[in-house]
């Protein structure tokens, strides 16, 4: 059926795969009609998809360093775009983003703008030049451009701090989904999640991760879009929600006016289970100051351009030209999901609060709502709650509470979709969390194996030994992440945003100036990384321990402070010390031109 080489056949292979997945969904839907239980459907969805990823991981096994580190630099632009989108969109994006929009409205939308706008910086300032450099990892660029082990090691440290903050949340998310879908305790489910993650990356490294991420993107985008379109049609909001929800958005505004935002007393709020929230902010009104919005967007954009697991995806393209285009495809594939999240939030909110819709619960009697099937299910799962604070017997807007993730998880059921959709959503969430975790663990393990072990400790190591070290590190880092995730430290999901701030504090300017300012030297880069990371960290601790902060920089945007310190330190120290050698300057000249050999020759 498949002739010729693998790369030429990619559209065909993934076309068949997509068709197969859709056929699987239909089989499950038929199974549901014939009496398959919800639990069996959940297990089938999660089990089947993980099996496919593991199979791809096994087929992509390799013994070559260039395959393991950069997928043989042969990934076509569109497919690299899909892989980057999966790498990028985490379990949090998939499960929590629509909920964030639902509860926080405009103030939260800064994240959508930031998490897409950052790619403009990636495309213009960094990706093509780092690709021309020919590095295997981000610290590889820092180490070669600035020279010396100190700069390289510092880059590894910043990378590890940022990526590790991020990865525990991802392993946590795979654990949560596996525990619900497979019905096993969370402490074990975390390790089931981890093993699935390692199956994709251990044998094939970047090559395995690339081809599983493409497969995971296809699953997650179907799992996100299908319910959005279906719900929109089911509640009569329009067959193409993105272009047709203006009336619904206006209707929510009307209802908000009519109900008003009544503030609950602290006494009453104590009764609400932890993690649930009520609707307290207008859906489509501007509810944040310009600076609050812009500073959050800016921090996320600069963070995007500094996160190594994203940057290293652009090392896998066949050329510099392809790296640039591939960034465009990445944002396109991210856009498909991000532009749907606000639509889902709108549909979910309207379905729940509009008394004119059969699904609406505001204005119904408390007893009536408590008797609804889906309410009982989600109340039992601790994701929904109603209480009659004012004692009038009916549910008011301020008496209905929900968890953020319920927007994605529960809305299909509320809108009357069959259970097969819930199984699909579980598989999508798992794909999103796994693909990001894989990228992050690989980024850390590759940096330590390539930059610390091979470049600093044992430069003569054989390829076989290097790859063995890389794989052992992969397992160790995975287990460390899972162990921390299993401890269920509170608020770890909020730490996803911190990862962006850490990365931008330490790495943004050393990377950008490495390409755009020839005068930048080793001493400057080291000062920039050390002082940026330390000052960002210090600011975070200060604000967390009750400090007032300044200029409206919060614990979510501390990277703005850290990166400013980093920039100043880097420029001042560079100018105070001698300019880089002529061979370094020549290297920068070469990196600025797409044609010709890559700057570093790897073996």
């Amino acid at each position: 059926m498949i002739k010729g080489n693998f790369i030429d056949n990619l559209p065909k292979i993934y076309g068949i795969y997509t068709g197969g997945f859709i056929a699987f969904i239909i089989i499950m839907a038929i199974g549901e009609q014939m009496g398959m239980t919800a639990k069996a459907i959940g297990i089938a969805f999660v089990g089947f998809t993980i099996f496919i990823y593991a199979l791809i991981g096994w087929l992509s096994r390799t013994a070559q360093a260039s395959n393991y580190y950069v997928a043989g630099r042969s990934v076509p632009t569109v497919f690299n775009g899909m892989a980057t989108a999966a790498d990028w969109m985490s379990g949090a994006s998939f499960v929590a983003m629509a909920g964030g929009i639902y509860f926080k409205g405009y103030g939260y939308m800064a994240l959508l703008v930031g998490w897409t706008g950052g790619y403009v910086l990636v495309a213009t300032l960094l990706a093509p030049y780092l690709r021309k450099f020919g590095c295997y990892t981000v610290p590889d660029f820092v180490g070669t451009r600035y020279g010396g082990n100190t700069a390289r090691l510092m880059a590894v440290i910043v990378l590890t701090v940022a990526s590790f903050t991020y990865v525990t949340a991802q392993i946590n998310a795979t654990g949560t989904i596996a525990s619900v879908a497979l019905d096993i305790p969370f402490q074990y489910a975390v390790y089931v999640g981890l093993v699935s993650i390692l199956l994709c990356s251990m044998l094939g490294g970047m090559r395995g991760v690339t081809w599983t991420q493409v497969a995971q993107y296809i699953v997650l985008i179907i799992a996100y879009l299908l319910p959005v379109f279906w719900i929109s049609n089911n509640i009569g909001a329009g067959f193409f929600p993105h272009f047709m929800l203006a009336d619904e958005v206006a209707r929510i505004g009307e209802l908000e006016q009519q109900f008003g935002f009544v503030k609950n007393s602290a006494e009453d709020l104590k009764l609400v289970p932890k993690g649930l929230a009520g609707i307290t902010k207008a859906h489509s009104e501007v509810n944040a100051t310009p600076w609050a919005f812009i500073s959050l967007a800016l921090a996320m954009m600069m963070g995007t351009a500094s996160l190594p697991h994203v940057m290293m995806r652009f090392f896998t393209t066949p050329s510099v030209k392809a790296a640039r285009k591939s960034v465009g495809w990445s944002v396109f594939f991210i856009f498909l999901l991000y532009s749907s999240a606000p639509m889902l939030a709108t549909l979910s909110k309207l379905a729940l609060i509009d008394p004119n819709l059969p699904t609406g619960i505001i204005g119904k009697s408390i007893a009536e709502v408590q008797a609804i099937d889906w309410y009982q299910n989600w109340n039992q799962a601790n994701l929904m709650f109603v209480s009659d604070f004012n004692g009038n017997g009916t549910v008011e807007l301020n008496e209905f509470f929900m968890a953020g993730k319920a927007v994605v998880l529960a809305t299909p059921e509320v809108a009357g979709l069959p259970y097969v959709i819930s199984g699909l959503v579980a598989a999508g969430g798992m794909a999103a969390a796994m693909s990001t975790a894989d990228g992050l663990i690989l980024a850390i393990a590759n940096a330590i194996s390539h930059d610390v072990y091979y470049k600093m400790i044992d430069p003569k190591a054989e390829t076989a030994k290097r790859l063995l070290v890389a794989r052992v590190l992969l397992v160790i880092i995975g287990f460390a992440g899972a162990t921390i995730a299993a401890m269920e430290i509170q608020g770890i999901l909020g730490s996803v945003i911190w990862a962006f701030d850490f990365a931008m504090s330490g790495l943004f300017w050393p990377l950008v100036l490495g390409v755009w300012w020839k005068r930048a030297n080793k001493e400057g880069a080291i000062a920039g990384m050390v002082l940026g990371l330390v000052s960002g960290f210090a600011y975070l601790i200060w604000v967390r321990s009750g400090g007032s902060g300044f200029l409206g920089i919060t614990q979510l945007t501390f990277g703005i402070f850290g990166s400013t310190v980093s920039l100043v330190a880097m420029v001042v120290v560079s100018l105070m010390t001698s300019e880089p050698s002529s061979s370094t300057q020549k290297m920068v000249d070469e990196a600025r031109v797409p044609a010709g050999q890559q700057v570093i020759s790897q073996r």
Binding site: T116, Y119, A123, H242, V249, E285, F293, P318, R324
Partner: protein, 86 residues
């Protein structure tokens, strides 16, 4: 070397244009978020709301492809383009 310097001048010019457009649609317009939101935007959504849901996001996609095309032209002009069509 003069050729390299000219190439880099043009590249920097393109960078500045791209970053100005980026700054307008990622930050600039949100200085006037409250005022803009009273205007009806595409598909009938409030304008600022539309930008945060679709407008700015979609603009970034177009901007990056446009930038990639322009940069390729600059590279070709100076003979710095890579061989092959990937």
């Amino acid at each position: 070397m003069a050729k390299n310097a000219q190439h880099w001048e043009k590249t920097k010019g393109l960078l500045i244009i791209t970053l100005v457009l980026w700054a307008i649609f990622s930050m600039g317009i949100f200085l006037f978020g409250a005022e803009m939101n009273t205007v009806t935007g595409p598909f009938g959504y409030p304008l600022t709301y539309w930008f945060t849901c679709q407008g700015s996001l979609g603009f970034f996609v177009i901007l990056i492809f446009w930038f990639a095309g322009r940069q390729e032209k600059i590279d070709e002009e100076f003979g710095f383009s890579e061989k092959g069509d990937n």
